[in-house]
């Protein structure tokens, strides 16, 4: 299982799914021209990770938790559905016995972004940890 990363642009987020550190992060702007082409590989990777973990499960070893960090500055409505799908997948990790802590970062001036996180958390019935950040 290899890590997965994508450089961010002004229209698509940076992705850093690091299998070594178990920190999975997505950050920046999300309004890619073709939202499905952008998000499909991420969803595929998470699916592969779940299968990998299930197949390599050792019942005698305690499982180190994964951390997922959403650090969006902005995401459009076309991206929202795919972000929701990712959150549902993250919840499935938990259900399969692989702890997954989800952090939702938002700018101190951006109540709407925090609210968007709360809505997604509520919809998917998955708790988030909220982190207020101050951009330079």
């Amino acid at each position: 299982m290899k890590s997965y990363s994508v450089n961010g642009t002004l229209v698509s987020p940076a992705v850093d799914f690091n299998i070594e550190t178990r920190v999975l992060e997505i950050s920046g702007y999300s309004r890619p021209e073709n939202v499905r082409d952008f998000y499909f590989p991420l969803i595929q990777w998470l699916d592969d990770l779940n299968v990998f973990l299930v197949n390599n499960r050792s019942l005698n070893v305690s499982i180190e938790p994964f951390t997922f960090k959403f650090k969006f500055i902005y995401f459009n409505s076309s991206s929202a559905k795919f972000i929701y799908d990712i959150i549902i997948m993250l919840n499935n990790f938990q259900k399969d016995g692989f702890p997954m802590k989800i952090y939702w970062y938002y700018d101190a001036d951006d109540d709407e972004l925090r609210e968007a996180g709360e809505e997604l958390s509520d919809m998917a019935n998955v708790p988030f940890f909220y982190v207020e950040s101050k951009r330079e």
Binding site: Y74, N76, S77, S78, A80, K81, D110, E112, E119, M123
Partner: protein, 174 residues
Amino acid sequence: MGEVEIVSEELLRHFGPLSYEEIGFLLNKMATLLDKRGMNITIRKKVYAAMVESLENIYKHQDTIADDKEYMPKFSLLIDSQNISLFVSNSILNHKVSLLKGKLDKVNSLDKDGLKDLYKNTILSGNVSPKGGAGLGIINIAKVSENKVNYTFSAINDRYSYFTLNVLISHNIK
């Protein structure tokens, strides 16, 4: 008894075919112009979101009229002492008008909590196409605007209408 005159100033204007790159160009221009006028990040992000959803809507869903120069996509951003106002126009096939009108009337009938519920239910229903669709963009516009979304449909001919969306974002909230 004189009426109070509201003087508005046009900050940005676009007329003609709209490419994905041009949307980015207009967003950058808007951010610079509003920053110069001392608009805070909350207002800038609201305008950014309303522009993305309305311009991407043109880019993805417009019904272009062949050989037409009059009813091409149009965008303008205006400011007055109270509001920032976006006008976004594009041609649309007449048979799509009633569905779009229904979505606009629906969001205009809802308050903030109602819009939140509609947004959630739309995502949960799974009826969101890869293009977005299902009216999520319109719900988002209504959420960030916090005002009713004004619109008009003007008949062009028996096949097309010209759709104009007007979004108001108050910047002078006391």
